[in-house]
């Protein structure tokens, strides 16, 4: 026993004193003049073995009440952390009901002053009270606790019920709180004795020091209240001894730490406003190190590539460490580090509809708080249970909550809060953990630190399964090992290693997936929202794959000819803006991108939605589609900037940029894989399992349908990640062709107009030519035109100097001498005109082609005209023209020394006409006979 000494270190006591400091000062003194506390061995002396079960706990509290002027009201006895009272040791049989506790006792041995009539089985000790100058002992019983108390023990001296409610002060401190002492009791001191094993003596064999023929020498029903001694036999279970298997310990010493004295504390207040506190130290614990238990990790499935949860089970004191009188409690696990095998990854579907729990919300969680009062229900991702705490059969149950990413104690993306409680018993345990995925492989390491210190027999943590499961099982069959490292509260820095195996034996569903790469047959849907020809309509593209297929890593496509976009009025997202988007990798990068997009709104051309995950529920992340400048040699590019905000997980920004190729002959638009960024399949260590990509090019009036109603297709090529998502060597490709065909071409008009203006019309002259094509708005686009000049117009071969070879043309290296004119096209799709030189280029036909090379906004369009003759006239044939709207097209050939034409007649007199045949993209045809309007002298004009 240790003398009374101030205990400034006791926070509770100090707080009490601080609180009392503001109260009206009592006139008379109120103090604790003596306080001792100790856990004793059966043979006497202090019990010091860690986790041991003492024979008894004894505490003495002496009050200075100024000769009764101060009457105590509340008293609280704080046990050292980890010192446990186990109400479950006695079970229901050992509980004294409220009725019995309020019914006065009738003793066969003497006139009893005790106000209770609790059963022998519920007696757990003796309470000696000193009132005035007299001291009398009373039985101390294990009571049915009130709501919110872990346990309750009490006595009824002189008919006055005194109940100590056992409360858990987190994390594992128990306190015995005695509230509302009546002033009439005039309590001056009390001696509390709690038996370590209340039913112990019943089973002690003869010769055992504790054997007291037939009864515990300290048993209260037989108690002599005057002396504390026994009057006779009083078995706990009526007239019989308790079976050995039912004899359990009521007290357990802490399992740690060793080397430091155990500290007890007591605080008291008086009805008169006085307050007092005192502390006592007991000898330090010894023999703290105990063997660690081996945790087990199990998947909730044996199927490959399946949604699954995970169970983490830990049995610590299942051998009776808490309740077995002959055993020792083992320390709880403080830290568990679980390294899950490669292939077992997080499921992005988890993010669908998932909420988060803030630190403050978690802090608000208490043993009695209502569900959702702290962490939101939608932040639950698993369950936690704790069995055997305080020897109770009741379970502490709770949840695993997702902590707000990055704003949690570990500062990590993936962190969890663990919470289990028993409101009725006022028990709660809290802990936290973090899950760290490998940035490149997604392999998970879960670290739980500060696991419940309150002793238990079984700790279970499960991460949920189902549609929004937490995890995805490995993609192939085999036996997988999880490596587990644990350390205990007794030795936090000493880790034990263990492993846990779980087999994957089948597919989901069906047999095991074949070895190597998964199949790859992605689906594709593509089309304009409106099927009408020439309609300005959003274009929708959707790519999907099943869970049993390879990941999509790239996309390329060739869109139907004539499916174009109006770039006029559309800005471009700058390189700097794209770089800024890529740089948004911070904890709130995705949210920042959503709040303040990197690219200007003027460059926005559409939206994307990406579905990540496995199974029927995907997590969706929004994105935007922007027009950007040159990329990989293409004049334009499209950049998809997706805020990878998958539920509560902000994984930054995904930027996938694709070069837009425009076929110079057909103006057909394509995205090629060589000019496209790969689609990432893992971000921040979370495999995205991108399964559904939806692209809507929905800027108003942006996408324009063809004016050809021919059957066409969107040809797409998707690349799969192969067996190894991190290697391009085994990538697989899948080609998908989606039919594309617009309607109502017949509703389009087609009335092309062509004018031909020549320079000097005199015979033998070399006239210039200005050919102007001007269709009506909303007409079908021109597919082909052939213009046959009258026989009076010759090709001036003597002016043909240099011809550009096709090779030179392809290299964009035509000599200047091969330029014979100029062309200009005005299209509503562009703000600027497409224009450029007109070359003579080597042809596959007899005569060099007349080729207009048009450029604008980086786009290059080649309009070749095949030259031949028809009925004696030069004929220019422009075929397979791009299905693109043109407001005006002007081709100019100079005359004179560079003139390609020569008048075979005096065109001023001949009134010659050309023949023109037009074919629309809609297959409409039109014939024209434009007159050659030559520049002639007016009659009578002087030379």
């Amino acid at each position: 026993m240790t003398p009374v000494r101030p205990l400034p270190a006791l926070l509770g006591a100090a707080l009490s004193l601080l609180l009392l400091a503001g109260a009206p000062r009592a006139e008379a003194a109120f103090a604790i003049d003596s306080f001792t506390a100790t856990a004793e061995k059966a043979a006497g002396g202090a019990e010091t073995k860690a986790g041991a079960h003492p024979a008894a706990f004894k505490a003495h509290v002496g009050l200075e009440t100024d000769a009764g002027a101060q009457r105590p009201r509340d008293l609280s006895l704080a046990l050292p952390p980890g010192f446990l009272v186990n109400p479950g040791a006695l079970g229901a049989l050992g509980e004294c009901s409220a009725t019995a506790f309020a019914t006065p006792r009738v003793s066969p041995y003497e006139a009893s002053a005790s106000g209770e009539s609790c059963s022998n089985a519920s007696q757990v000790g003796v309470l000696a009270v000193q009132t005035g100058s007299a001291t009398r002992s009373f039985g101390l019983f294990n009571l049915v606790p009130p709501f919110g108390a872990a346990a309750a023990i009490g006595a009824a001296p002189f008919g006055i019920p005194l109940r100590f409610d056992v409360h858990l002060r987190e994390p594992d401190n128990l306190a015995l709180d005695l509230a509302g002492l009546p002033q009439s009791l005039d309590l001056r001191a009390l001696d509390l004795t709690i038996w370590g094993t209340p039913w112990e003596g019943d089973s002690r064999p003869p010769g055992d020091p504790l054997h007291n023929p037939g009864h515990n020498p300290l048993r209260g029903n037989c108690l002599n209240e005057q002396t504390g001694g026994s009057h006779g036999e009083c078995f706990a279970l009526g007239g019989a001894t308790a079976p050995e298997g039912r004899i359990k310990t009521y007290l357990t010493l802490p399992t740690a730490p060793c080397g430091s004295p155990l500290s007890y504390g007591v605080t008291a207040t008086s009805w008169q406003g006085g307050g007092a506190a005192a502390g006592a130290a007991a000898p330090a614990l010894e023999e703290c190190s105990k063997a660690l238990s081996t945790p087990k990790v199990q998947l909730m499935t044996d199927a490959a590539a399946a949604r699954t949860g995970l169970a983490f089970n830990l049995a610590v004191n299942d051998g009776g460490g808490i309740l077995n009188p002959g055993g020792f409690a083992r320390p709880a696990i403080r830290t568990a580090i679980v390294s899950l095998p490669a292939g077992l990854t997080l499921n992005p579907s988890l993010g669908a509809g998932l909420g988060v729990c803030d630190e403050a919300q978690f802090a608000r969680e208490s043993a009695g708080s209502e569900p959702g009062a702290g962490c939101p229900n939608n932040s639950k991702i698993g369950t936690v249970s704790l069995e055997g705490a305080l020897g109770l059969a009741e379970t502490l149950a709770g949840s695993v909550y997702l902590a707000r990413p990055y704003e949690n104690p570990s500062g990590s993306l993936l962190a969890v809060y663990l919470l289990a409680r028993n409101p009725r018993r006022g028990l709660i345990v809290k802990s936290q953990g973090r899950i760290e995925p490998d940035p490149t492989s997604g392999r998970l390491v879960a670290t739980f630190e500060g696991l419940p210190r309150l002793l238990y027999t079984h700790f279970a943590l499960t991460l949920r399964e189902g549609q929004r499961s937490t995890l995805l099982s490995p993609p192939s069959c085999g036996t997988y090992l999880a490596q587990i490292q644990t350390s205990s509260w007794a030795e936090p820095t000493v880790f034990a290693n263990a492993s846990s195996a779980f087999p994957i034996t089948r597919g989901d569903p069906g047999p095991c997936p074949p070895a190597g790469a998964l199949p790859f047959h992605p689906g594709l849907l593509a089309g304009s929202v409106s099927p009408s020809a020439a309609a300005r309509t959003p274009f929708h593209l959707r790519m999907t794959r099943s869970d049993a297929e390879q990941e999509i890593t790239s996309y390329s496509a060739t869109f139907p000819p004539g499916l174009l976009a109006k770039l006029a009025g559309v800005g471009e997202c700058s390189e700097a803006a794209i770089a800024a988007a890529k740089a948004r990798t911070g904890p709130r990068g995705g949210a920042e991108e959503l709040a303040a997009p990197s690219c200007p709104a003027s460059s926005l051309i559409g939206h994307t939605v990406a579905g990540y995950g496995v199974g029927g529920v995907l997590a969706w992340a929004p994105g935007s589609l922007y027009l950007a400048g040159p990329y990989h040699g293409a004049p334009l590019s499209v950049v998809a900037i997706d805020a990878a905000v998958i539920g509560p997980f902000d994984l930054g920004v995904v930027v996938v940029r694709s070069a837009i190729r425009i076929d110079p002959r057909s103006a057909q638009v394509s995205l090629d894989s060589a000019g496209s960024d790969p689609i990432p399949h893992i971000l921040e260590g979370i495999p995205l399992h991108l399964r559904d990509i939806r692209v809507d090019v929905d800027r108003p009036d942006f996408t324009v349908n063809p004016t050809s109603c021919d059957r066409m297709a969107v040809h797409s090529t998707l690349t799969g990640a192969g067996a190894d998502p991190f290697s391009a060597a085994d990538d697989a490709t899948a080609v998908s062709t989606q039919r594309f065909q617009v309607l109502n071409c017949t509703l389009l008009g087609f009335r092309p107009a062509l004018s031909l203006r020549l320079g000097a019309g005199r015979h033998g002259g070399y006239p210039s030519l200005r050919a102007t094509y001007a269709p009506r708005p909303r007409d079908a686009n021109l597919s082909a035109v052939s213009v046959t000049m009258p026989p009076a117009v010759f090709l001036a071969q003597n002016h043909i100097d240099t011809v550009c070879t096709r090779a030179q043309f392809a290299r964009d290296a035509c000599p200047a001498g091969s330029i014979y004119g100029h062309a200009r096209a005005i299209t509503p799709l562009l703000e600027e005109a497409l224009e450029g030189p007109v070359y003579l280029r080597s042809s596959r036909t007899a005569v060099p082609d007349l080729v207009a090379e048009l450029r604008g906004r980086g786009i290059e369009i080649e309009v070749p005209g095949r030259i031949d003759s028809s009925r004696g006239g030069i004929r220019a044939n422009f075929e397979n023209l791009p299905d693109a709207p043109v407001t005006k097209f002007v081709l100019t050939l100079p005359g004179g020394k560079r003139g390609l034409l020569q008048n075979g007649e005096d065109l001023c007199r001949a009134r010659a006409r050309a023949n023109a045949r037009f074919v629309a993209q809609s297959n409409e045809t039109a014939i024209g006979h434009p007159r050659l309007l030559a520049k002639c002298r007016r009659p009578g004009a002087h030379r």
């Binding site: 015979h763 100097d801 070879t805 091969s818 596959r844 036909t845 003759s869 020569q902 075979g904």
Partner: protein, 274 residues
């Protein structure tokens, strides 16, 4: 003898394909007094020129001359089938016993027929027409398949700077309508060759286009001084007592620039009509 040359030339340019185009309508009257059709082939290196000619009638007066029709052709080829070098010049020296006589014929200028279609040329200069023919050429442009080009030749009596010339108007529509007029100039010499016809074709350095065939028939007859005369007239210079004669009527030369000149003397026979 009147050889006819037509040529379309395309020459490669250092930075492209340089085209020296024109239609060189080489029209050469090569052989007068040709008594029979035949081919005279001359070869130099791999280049081969076969001159052909036909005259009718072959029975001609021993004294004086009579109108004749003469068809002259030339085929240019190479032994190995490669494109031949460009034909750059034609010169035909004619035996002084034959004559070309435009007297009494209307004449046209170059501008009257160039450029024009055959129909337009004949409409403008029909009265001055002295014959017709055809030409064929092959054109080879880099990256293009060789293609044949064909055209019609119409020869007109022409005047250039007051001197008589033959305007050989070439018109073709394949592959495109084109028109070219070759001017054959006449000079007079001494000795065996009394009349020399010469034409220069535009300077050509490329062998991407080449003439493959030329043919022209001069057969114009017209009224002059109350008599029917021919633009081409000849007699058979056989000595008295001989039924006919064989003798050098003309010497034809085709110049191919650096590839040299191929020449041939055409000997023909005739039957004398007393």
């Amino acid at each position: 003898m009147i050889p006819v040359g037509v040529r379309i030339g395309f020459s490669p340019h250092p930075a492209g394909v340089k085209v020296r185009c024109g239609i060189l309508a080489g029209l050469v009257l090569a052989v007068l007094f040709v008594s029979a059709a035949g081919a005279e082939t001359v070869q130099k290196g791999g280049l081969r020129v076969a001159f052909t000619g036909k005259i009718s009638p072959t029975r001609l007066p021993r004294q004086g001359s009579a109108p004749i029709a003469v068809t002259v052709g030339g085929q240019i080829a190479t032994v190995d089938g490669a494109p031949p070098p460009q034909l750059q010049g034609i010169e035909i020296a004619i035996n002084r016993a034959g004559r070309l006589d435009p007297k009494g014929l209307p004449s046209c200028t170059y501008a009257d027929v160039q450029p024009s279609t055959t129909a337009a040329a004949q409409a403008a200069c029909g009265p001055a027409k002295v014959g017709e023919g055809s030409f064929a050429a092959n054109v080879v442009i880099p990256e293009q398949s060789p293609f044949p080009s064909e055209g019609k030749i119409v020869a007109f009596n022409g005047v250039e700077r007051g001197r008589p010339v033959i305007l050989a108007h070439v018109y073709g529509t394949v592959p495109v309508p084109l028109s070219y007029t070759l001017v054959l100039r006449m000079t007079h010499g001494k000795g065996t060759w009394g009349t020399v016809l010469s034409a220069s074709l535009p300077a050509v350095t490329s062998d991407v286009a080449y003439v493959t065939g030329i043919s022209l028939t001069l057969d114009r007859r017209f009224q002059s001084g109350g008599k029917t005369v021919g633009y081409v007239a000849a007699g058979c210079p056989a000595p008295k007592g001989f039924p006919g004669a064989v003798f050098p009527l003309a010497r034809a030369s085709f110049s191919f620039g650096a590839a040299g000149t191929l020449s041939s003397t055409l000997n023909r026979s005739c039957k004398a009509k007393d």
